[in-house]
């Protein structure tokens, strides 16, 4: 791997002759040196050098320091690349690691049935994550509008798990308190609580919990629907547990420990 550095050199006072030019030529003759620029200010020369793995920048610095015309030398080591903590965070959550395989072909955006309702299309969302635009991505509605139809995932030529990625972004937006999904996170929580308690969804309990946490008055609108479901036996008043509720609970808790929203 190549390491790059800038050497800022202050020269000894050279009186007469071609001392300055000779110094520049001496540096240019070094194989590690890419460019030498004479400057005025706190330093006299700026040297750009690049070395490959076994050779270290410190050795090049020693070579330059050994020249008799060098008064002092400061090394500015180039940082490998602009860090992108947001991309690292997305990649660290299960489902988010496939973001690096995207080639930005736009097949996901072309396939998405809800793209017209999204702030950013799936392709653009991936591009924004890669650009480190945490706030823009997490405050957008794109991941919340995702219908989880998996059309994008099925058609992606690079096997990017876009639907999983959208769920990953949902989790991150909730974790950072930036979500723009309206009541959706509350619905998800009510659903998971119901699953943890009974091993399956208890519709009445889940909706009651959801409306109590969001807008209790909105529940009045769906009371007629609820009554119809009850009268036709499509919804039970009492929750029923399935066999192995404990195992389901353990699975959900394990998923939450891996990065799911608590």
């Amino acid at each position: 791997m190549e390491t790059k550095a800038y050497f800022m050199i202050k020269m000894e006072a050279i009186t007469g002759g071609d001392g300055h030019t000779d110094a520049v030529r001496e540096l240019e003759a070094m194989p590690e040196v890419e460019a030498v620029e004479p400057v005025s200010g706190e330093y006299d020369l700026v040297v750009v050098a690049a070395v490959d793995a076994p050779i270290r920048i410190a050795l090049v610095a020693k070579k330059i320091q050994a020249k008799n015309w060098v008064k002092n030398l400061h090394v500015l080591k180039l940082e490998p690349a602009a860090p992108n903590p947001f991309l690292d965070e997305v990649c660290s959550i299960p489902g988010g690691e496939s973001i690096n395989w995207c080639v930005q072909c736009g097949m996901c955006s072309a396939s998405c049935p809800n793209v017209n309702k999204m702030d950013y299309s799936p392709r653009k969302t991936i591009a924004l994550v890669r650009a480190g635009r945490r706030y823009d991505v997490l405050t957008s509605n794109s991941m919340w509008v995702c219908a989880s139809c998996y059309l994008c995932t099925a058609r992606c030529p690079k096997d990017v798990k876009i639907t999983e990625l959208m769920h990953t972004l949902e989790r991150l937006s909730v974790r950072h308190g930036l979500h723009n999904g309206g009541a959706t996170p509350a619905l998800y929580r009510a659903f998971i609580d119901s699953i943890k308690g009974n091993g399956r969804v208890h519709e009445l309990g889940m909706m009651m919990k959801f409306f109590l946490k969001t807008n209790p008055l909105a529940a009045l609108k769906i009371i007629p629907v609820g009554l119809k479901l009850l009268s036709h036996g499509r919804m039970s008043i009492k929750p029923t547990k399935i066999k192995g509720t404990e195992q389901i609970k353990t699975m959900v808790e394990r998923a939450q420990a891996l990065g799911g929203a608590k």
Partner: protein, 96 residues
Amino acid sequence: MGTKAYFMINMDKKFSDDSYYLDAIRELEAIPEVESVNPVSGVCDLLVKVDAPIRVILVANKIRTKKWVKNFHILNVEPAQPTEAPKPAEREFVEA
């Protein structure tokens, strides 16, 4: 061709968080006179190369106003020195 210069920028510790660092790089890259922005470790945090069309100090003033700049040094690039080595064509002629 304008005047080239290097700016050695030290960032305020308050803004040394990753996200501020990235924003600072983007802000600098958005300045039209800036040729390259290099995040470095050493005596300074950022090494910026600029090509000032009129005066370097005008570009310096643009950067000095950023809230994350603690201090910075300007290194003006001196114009290339005339070389005494023969031109390639001449060298070929001499060798022939």
